[in-house]
């Protein structure tokens, strides 16, 4: 009898405790909605700049849609000359994941536009994944169905938001805050390409970041259950329906010995075929755009200016026949 009373008391306390912390946490999170933090504010500003550039172009254009690998890796001027259309590079940051990248792309795409998509690999297999950049960005720019964020991702955002994000969110952007440093509109040219990435501008810490960058395990992480082909297919279909064309190409990435054996090799070898099976027009081979370390600026995805020229030449070779075919239709 005594034990039963004690158990009931314990249960009552446990339920009250759960309700208490749950409500407190949700209240704390509610205060984060619409509050950006300095760490990801550059992403918002970069998109603001790039979308403004895109909106000034009235004729059919070429849009480059991906993460920062495209921002550092594509020479939009050369692409424009080769394809005979104005180009805007919408690549900013793969960390904010496909929901935002696709959403910003939709804001820029106009009927008849051609879209080049050198999408970073994890975005093809991260249907239920999130990361800290995404969490930070989500609270500043919340959305659910409109953004193609699923319930699993949303639940993770709610659970994984660090207390520090809440503190920073409540503090907000410091008065007079201006985006500075390597990333942001201050380092973008008129096409949206990253500038100041010559070898001579690479500082020691940047080189160390490249050296220390991890060996990616995209092959091991790619499964049927977390595939994200459908969302990219939906975007490509919208482009096609509006009279344009969408071509997927492999992004530039730092080469590692591990990518040439076992599961990882199989992943890169079969990715174009997989993409095509899921309805994407994917051209080129990922193994052809793996480059040595001396071509990278500050991460395993960010090319230096000289290497950008090489990658862009390859990219043009891949996409030009596709867009010529598109024009013929």
């Amino acid at each position: 009898m005594k034990s039963e009373t004690s158990s009931r008391g314990f249960l009552r306390g446990a339920l009250l405790g759960l309700a208490l912390v749950g409500v407190l946490w949700l209240l704390m999170l509610a205060g984060q909605l619409g509050r950006p933090v300095p760490s990801t504010h550059w992403v918002e500003k970069a998109y603001e700049y790039k979308l403004a550039q895109a909106n000034t172009i009235q004729q059919p254009k070429v849009l480059v849609v991906a993460g920062s690998a495209a921002m550092f890796g594509v020479d939009s001027k050369a692409v424009a000359e080769a394809l005979g259309r104005p180009v805007v590079n919408l690549g900013v940051n793969a960390g904010i994941l496909s929901p935002y990248i696709q959403s910003y792309a939709r804001q820029a795409i106009k009927p008849g536009d051609w879209v080049v998509l050198p999408v970073e690999y994890p975005m093809f297999h991260g249907r239920y994944s999130i990361n800290m950049s995404f969490i930070d960005y989500w609270w500043g720019h919340p959305g659910f169905r409109r953004l193609d964020v699923n319930l699993v991702q949303l639940a993770q955002v709610f659970w994984l938001t660090p207390l520090l994000r809440a503190v920073d969110g409540y503090r907000g952007l410091p008065s007079g805050f201006k985006v500075s440093g390597l990333y942001g509109p201050q380092n973008l040219d008129q096409y949206g390409d990253q500038i100041n990435t010559q070898s001579s501008q690479q500082e020691v810490w940047m080189h160390e970041l490249v050296e220390r960058s991890g060996v990616e395990r995209y092959g091991a992480q790619a499964h049927a259950w977390n595939a994200n082909w459908a969302s990219w297919k939906a975007l490509a279909d919208e482009v096609t329906a509006a009279g344009g064309c969408a071509v997927f190409v492999p992004p530039p990435m730092l080469d590692r010995a591990d990518y040439h054996q076992g599961k990882e090799r199989r992943y890169y070898t079969s990715l174009p075929e997989q993409a095509r099976l899921h309805g994407l027009n994917y051209v080129g081979s990922p193994l052809d755009t793996l480059y040595p370390m001396d071509r990278f600026f500050d991460t395993n995805y960010h090319l230096k200016a000289a290497a950008r020229t090489l990658y862009t030449r390859h990219l043009i070779e891949l996409v030009k026949p596709e867009f010529d075919r598109c024009k013929a239709h």
């Binding site: 034990s3 009373t5 004690s6 158990s7 009931r8 008391g9 314990f10 249960l11 009552r12 306390g13 446990a14 339920l15 009250l16 405790g17 759960l18 208490l20 912390v21 749950g22 946490w25 659970w159 994984l160 660090p162 207390l163 520090l164 809440a166 503190v167 920073d168």
Partner: protein, 467 residues
């Protein structure tokens, strides 16, 4: 697998406990015991399947030696068992240290099997108890395996004695009420100590000791802070582990011995050793100090034995001169303390004795944490320079607390934690005084905070896994 991980808290433990409750419902004591042994082996095997073989081999060899002991009652088998166990421990823990003069020793990569220091002592105690007839027999192989590898205490204690454990798993184990509420409350308090208090101190502690290790000068206040912050980290980490082990034990109806009783509230070094790592102190007292002669041959020999015990206790923590220095310092302080008690009836007032003991204990943690004797001595030299180099920045403090990464705010956080340690009751008393409703509240609020903190934090193993 460690207790403070999602894998343990959300998968392993619920699965094992669910199975245990099911078997308990049908009063299947022996199958439950077997299930706990298998679960414990899986728990150990998750760290290293190779060393699981070693653990199993040691269980079998020790059990056979124990059977011989019971059969013959000869000292020979005790000597064989003790030498065998100490040799295994010595190989894994001290081979590199004692043979460091050999050029080839640099290429020896001997990995210390997790928990070997603890389960070796348990086995030695078991053999001694059999020899001294404190234990009537070996128990069954299953009971002995359970005694060695019951997962709550397998890795870092408390050091359990078979004479107290065997009666708890004898027939009728499932007739006793299960104190699961107290168990889960202690588990929660232990997790909170480890995840919310000990782990956040790690970056700041490491920064100070790494700076000294690299040859950098630390002024006196920073040296003191290094000792204090590490002392607090170690206490919350290790006593947190002990709380978890005891809590988990209670949930299975097993009462494990207390390992800590608010040690930083001690008013003397003697009292400190009655409150800190109690089961190790008891082991060293019962099986080393008394075996050496204890205090049976006069004060001088007693102090000599005490000194040897503390030096070996230091060496048990790790193969390095810094551990010997730590053990020696405590041995010396204990000898002085004992002489003082013998020579004078006058005692320092509590208000002076507690801070003085605390100061000495915290400073003695420096060699315990430092990577070498050289670093320890280099740090102690800094005590001559009393420059204050820390600044109070409320915003930095707020951000470091929120991110649970204490570095620049170390002094202020340590002062707050010290105040907590000196004023709050011990975990067990706290859980008992809360009442059922309070315990329920504590468990959900505490577990929420712990799981939330673990979601974004790197896995940090318990400090005593190194020893």
């Amino acid at each position: 697998m460690i207790f403070s991980s999602y894998a343990f808290l959300l998968l392993f433990f619920p699965a094992v406990y669910g199975l245990f409750l099911l078997l308990r419902r049908f009063r299947l004591e022996q199958p439950a015991l077997a299930m706990l042994v298998i679960s414990s082996l899986v728990f150990y095997g998750m760290w290293s399947w190779r060393y699981l073989g070693l653990l199993l081999g040691l269980i079998v060899v020790n059990y056979l030696l124990g059977l011989q002991q019971v059969k013959t009652r000869r000292k020979l088998w005790l000597v064989v068992a003790v030498v065998f166990n100490l040799s295994v421990l010595a190989y894994f823990k001290y081979a590199g240290f004692f043979f460091s003069f050999l050029p080839s020793s640099a290429s020896w990569h001997i990995i210390l099997p997790l928990g070997i220091s603890f389960f070796t002592f348990q086995k030695i105690a078991w053999h001694m108890d059999l020899y001294r007839r404190r234990l009537p027999d070996t128990g069954t192989m299953l009971e002995y395996s359970f005694f060695v590898c019951f997962f709550p205490q397998l890795i870092a204690g408390p050091i359990v004695h078979a004479r107290t454990l065997f009666p708890q798993i004898a027939a009728g184990w499932f007739n006793r009420p299960l104190t699961w509420q107290l168990g889960i409350s202690l588990l929660t308090v232990g997790l909170m100590k480890k995840v919310l208090l000990a782990d956040p101190l790690a970056p700041g502690v490491a920064a100070l000791f790494d700076h000294a290790q690299a040859g950098g000068a630390l002024p006196g206040p920073s040296v003191l802070l290094a000792g204090l912050s590490y002392g607090l980290q170690l206490y919350f980490d290790f006593s947190g582990y002990a709380d978890m082990a005891i809590g988990l034990g209670l949930m299975f109806g097993i009462k494990l011995p207390a390992n800590f009783r608010s040690p930083y509230k001690s008013a003397s070094i003697i009292e400190f050793w009655r409150r800190w790592h109690i089961t190790l102190s008891h082991f060293l007292r019962d099986y080393l100090y008394i075996t050496l002669g204890g205090n049976r041959r006069g004060r001088l020999m007693a102090n000599n034995n005490l000194m040897i015990t503390m030096l070996l206790g230091g060496l048990w923590h790790g193969a390095g001169w810094q551990f010997i220095l730590w053990g020696g310092l405590h041995g010396l302080l204990l000898v002085i303390n004992h002489y003082w008690r013998h020579l004078s009836r006058w005692r320092l007032p509590q208000v002076v004795a507690v801070p003085l003991t605390l100061l000495v204990v915290m400073l003695a943690w420096i060699p315990f944490r430092a990577d070498s004797l050289t670093t320890s001595l280099h740090m102690f030299k800094g005590l001559a320079d009393w420059r204050w180099t820390w600044a109070f920045e409320p915003l930095v403090l707020l951000r470091e607390v929120a991110s649970m990464h204490i570095d620049k705010s170390l002094p202020w956080v340590c002062v707050a934690l010290l105040a907590m340690v000196l004023t709050l009751p011990g975990s067990r008393r706290l859980c008992l005084t809360l009442g059922a409703f309070g315990r329920g509240l504590l468990v959900t609020v505490g577990l929420f905070m712990v799981l939330k903190a673990l979601a974004g934090a790197p896995d940090r193993a318990f400090l005593y896994f190194n020893f």
